[in-house]
Each structure stands twice: as C-alpha cells, then as structure tokens.
C-alpha cells in the first residue's frame, strides 16, 4: 500500500470571489462555503473568519480542528465512511494544504449536561502563553462558525457539525486538484532488512461504551465496544480516524492530530532505516471493570505477538485517570509476552508541587517518555478580538461547569481550556526534568 502525499503550503488567506489556490495564496469564496454548509437544515447560521498566528485573537466554543485534504486518485475518498463510501484508504495520491486548518466554533443547546458524553468546548489563542502549548496557534485558522437548530439530539448535532466541517476542509483542498508540486512524500511499509527490529505502535484510548456517540470513529464507525484492531499507518493520513465533532478541549483528540499523528509519522519515516514498522494497534481500554481491562490488554498484546513484534511504543489518553490503568495493564501484558515497551505519556506533577507523577505505575514500566505536566497553570491575557462568542457571553468547558469569559484574561486555570494542549503522542518538545 503506497500513498503519495502532495503538500501545498498556505501563507496567505483572503476572502475573494472564488475559491482558488496559487503558490501559497489561498482565496476563499465565503458565500460558496456558507451556502454549502447551510444546505443542512439543522444548521441555522454559518459564517467564516480567518485568523493568523500572532494576532491577539481568541477563538471560543471550539470543537474540532481539521486539515484540508482531498484524495485525487482512486480508491476511496478523504474521511471515508463520512464523506463517501467505506473503502480502505491509504494508497494512491492525496493533496493537503499545509500551514492552515479549519476550526469549528459551534453553539447549541446541549441535551446531555454531565459526564464524559457531554459536549465540550475549548479556546485557541493565536498569541501568548496559550499559543506555546496549542498545536493550532501556529496555523492560519479558517474558523467555521455554526449555530445549530434547537431540539437536536446529541447524535444529530455531531453529524451536522462533522459533515459541515469535513466538507469545508475538503472543498478548500480541492483548490489544488489540478496542480503539481515538488513537495511529495511517499509513505509505505515496504520490504526491509530482516535484521531491523520489528516494532508496533499501540494506541490506547477511552470511549464510552453505551453512548450513541464515540470519541473515536473508524471510517465513521463508532468504536464503542470495539476490540483491538490492526491498522495500516497510511489509513490515518487519509482521515480514516475521526472524532466526536461536538467535543473540543484538552482531554480529547482533534481530527487534525489524527491526520498528522506525530508518532505514526515518525515511525513511518524510520521504517526501513532503523526499524521495521509493523503497524498500528488501535486499542480501546476504557472498560469499566478491572478484569475487562486485563482482557483488552491481552487481546492487544496478542495481536502484536502474532505479528512477531519485538518492541512496542504505547501511548495513552490525554487524561490520566481511571483509563490509565488500562494503559499500564497493556504495558504489563506486552512485557509478559516478551515484547519490550516504551510508554509515552503526559504526567500529573501538580505544577512542580511534588506528588506521584503517574496515578499508577507497574515495575515493568522501565522506559517512559514524559511529554510534560498536564496540570500546568497558565494565564491567558485579554484578547483584542474574540471569534465565536459575543462580548458579554460566557463559555463553559462543559455544560454546567463554572463558565469563563473569553473576552477577559483567564488566570491559572487557562490550560484546561486550550484545544489540544496536552501532548499525548509526542508531537512537542516538552519533557519533564526533576530538580
């Protein structure tokens, strides 16, 4: 399976009469885009704005972030199972716009107001302390501002937001369909020197089993009660894995990050050089009983064993809590089968106050990479401009939580509201040192 990724960088964006890409300049026909979005009767208002890195601008009610991509060859389409038929993707040719993202900013009346299945909202600051920890602050962000009709179920809300968001992202990428570029990268798991170490990458994550929604969708299929699956790394590059479109914040992943998954990209680029990358094991670990966590740990490690893996990198969820036990039990199961592991995870050091960095640790976890304290305290300064939220309007990270004022400075609790600020997959250079 060979995928050719063609990159078209974007440095300038403006609204114009037609949607057109030419040599790092992207013109967007705002009318065309909003008309496209408003075709869905569940969406009652739509608008588009653009913000640039360094502007003292804040985006509020942020849900998901998506990179504009489009497939220009058969088989399959971008975001298969959502924007088109289900067809295994990850081969042929795909075009992407780099340096730009589509961000959804959505307001609606939530019908679930508590627990992990409630919708959640985040902020993106284009400057300042939050920009240092947010992966999207250095991108030109095209903000799709949507208001949904009243009385929608959470499932309908998700479907409408996701369809609109992905269509806009694809439409922007379509501006490159006829174009050529020299910026091409080929991704494949070709034959390698047999002496190279055989490595798998195990992604552990949390979903709620009985909710109609799922934080992780595979070809649009909600993972929910799913068992561990072996996935070709290229599939991620074509948007095979997406998320619950209503949820933004620190404890969920964004579609953009799944499409630009830093560990997968690193392993793909090392394949044939320093290692033999066997594939990605996607493992749901959030079963709510201990024995069921042991079960998924056994299943995932057995997939790796059958593949003949010698080593595994394991990453967990953005949030260290109950589901972290599943991550540790998975590590134990791998080690017990003789597969050597490295765990990459954020830690909970309480901002340097001391205390155990991990809620639970097993002695087999001898090799851990830390991506930083997930309880950092940062102050967000007052912005000049806020998108997605009127002056005087407040935003709660989840419905019913104590709201904050995006138009004001936000002291110390700011970190938990910043989109994608916790590094779960090793995309940043953050680490923790002990003093």
């Amino acid at each position: 399976m060979k995928l050719e990724m063609a990159t078209f960088p974007v440095k300038n964006v403006r609204f114009a009469g037609r949607t057109f890409y030419n040599q790092t300049n992207l013109d967007i026909d705002k009318n065309e885009i909003t008309t496209l979005v408003l075709k869905d009767k569940n969406i009652v208002a739509a608008d588009l704005e653009v913000v640039f890195p360094g502007e003292e601008a804040r985006l509020a009610f942020v849900r998901d972030v998506v990179e504009p991509r489009v497939k220009v060859s058969e088989p399959g389409c971008i975001f298969p199972g959502i924007l088109g038929a289900v067809e295994t993707v990850g081969h042929g040719r795909t075009h992407r716009l780099a340096g730009i993202a589509v961000v959804s900013s959505v307001q609606y009346n939530s019908s679930i107001t508590t627990g992990t299945v409630a919708d959640s909202r985040a902020l993106i600051d284009m400057w300042g302390p939050a920009a240092e920890v947010c992966p999207y602050s250095s991108l030109i962000n095209v903000v799709l501002i949507i208001k949904l009709a009243d009385g929608l179920s959470e499932l309908e809300a998700h479907a409408s937001i996701q369809q609109a968001h992905f269509r806009v992202a694809r439409r922007l990428a379509e501006s490159t369909v006829q174009l050529e570029t020299e910026d091409l990268e080929t991704f494949e798991l070709g034959d390698v020197d047999p002496s190279l170490p055989r490595v798998v990458y195990n992604i552990c994550f949390h979903v709620d089993p009985w909710s109609p929604l799922s934080r992780v969708l595979l070809y649009g299929f909600p993972v929910r009660e799913g068992l561990p699956l072996l996935i070709h790394p290229n599939e991620f590059l074509d948007g095979a894995v997406t998320v619950d479109a209503r949820q933004g914040g620190v404890s969920v992943w964004q579609t953009w990050m799944w499409m630009n998954q830093p560990m997968i990209l690193r392993l793909l680029r090392e394949h044939g050089k320093r290692l033999n990358f066997l594939g990605v094991i996607l493992q749901r670990t959030s079963f709510y009983t201990e024995i069921d966590k042991e079960a998924t740990a056994a299943f995932a490690s057995q997939v790796a064993k059958l593949l003949g893996a010698e080593g595994a990198i394991i990453t967990g969820i953005p949030f260290i809590g109950n589901t972290f036990f599943g991550v540790m039990l998975t590590l134990k199961a791998y080690e017990k089968k003789g597969i050597k592991t490295v765990l990459l995870t954020p830690e909970a050091s309480g901002g340097g106050a001391g205390g155990a960095p991990l809620v639970f640790c097993t002695p087999e976890a001898t090799a851990i990479v830390s991506t930083g304290d997930l309880q950092r305290s940062i102050d967000l300064p007052k912005p000049n401009k806020v998108i997605g939220c009127d002056r005087g309007q407040l935003m709660s990270e989840t419905p019913g939580e104590i709201p904050l004022d995006p138009w004001d400075e936000i002291k110390s609790k700011g970190y938990s509201a910043v989109e994608g600020a916790v590094d779960t997959w090793g995309g940043t250079q953050f680490t923790v040192k002990e003093y």
Partner: protein
C-alpha cells in the same frame, strides 16, 4: 488517598471500588470489589430487585471487611454477578 488518611486517623475504611488496583496504590487496606466505574454499587442492566439485592450484598461484604483484622491490603469479593463488558 482519601481512604489512607482516614485509616491513618485510626478509623477503618471499607473501600468499594471497581478497580482494586487503584485502591491498593492509593492506600485502602480493606478493598471491596465493586461493579463498574459508573455504577460501583449496583447494575442498572439488572431488574430493580436484583440490583437492590446486589447492593445489599456489597454492603454485607463491606461491613464484614470493617470488622476484619488485616495485616496487608486485602481484597474482599462479594458474592455477586453483574454485566461484563
């Protein structure tokens, strides 16, 4: 960790939890194996009478644990059946 501090003050704690690993790590010494995270003291998939009977069984086990002398962290398993998965 809360259980540990209460025990440190000399008051025995029967910790009903679905994840016994957690309790060992955070200091409860009398651990009662509960049902599931969202419903540690019952099973909403069972009919109401069975759900209440399950909860009663957990409490019997917890009261028993409170009266048991333990030297190391100990897990008490109530006689219950609940929905897996």
């Amino acid at each position: 960790m809360i259980a540990k501090e209460i025990e440190r003050a000399g008051i025995p704690v029967a910790a009903i939890t679905p994840i016994s690993l957690l309790s060992r790590q955070t200091g409860a010494s009398r651990v009662v194996a509960g049902v599931k995270v969202p419903n540690p003291c019952g099973d909403p998939e069972l009919p109401s009478e069975s759900d209440r009977a399950l909860r009663k069984e957990l409490i019997i086990c917890a009261l028993e644990a409170l009266q048991t002398d333990v030297k190391t962290p100990t897990i008490f398993t109530p006689k219950i059946v609940y929905t897996r998965g």
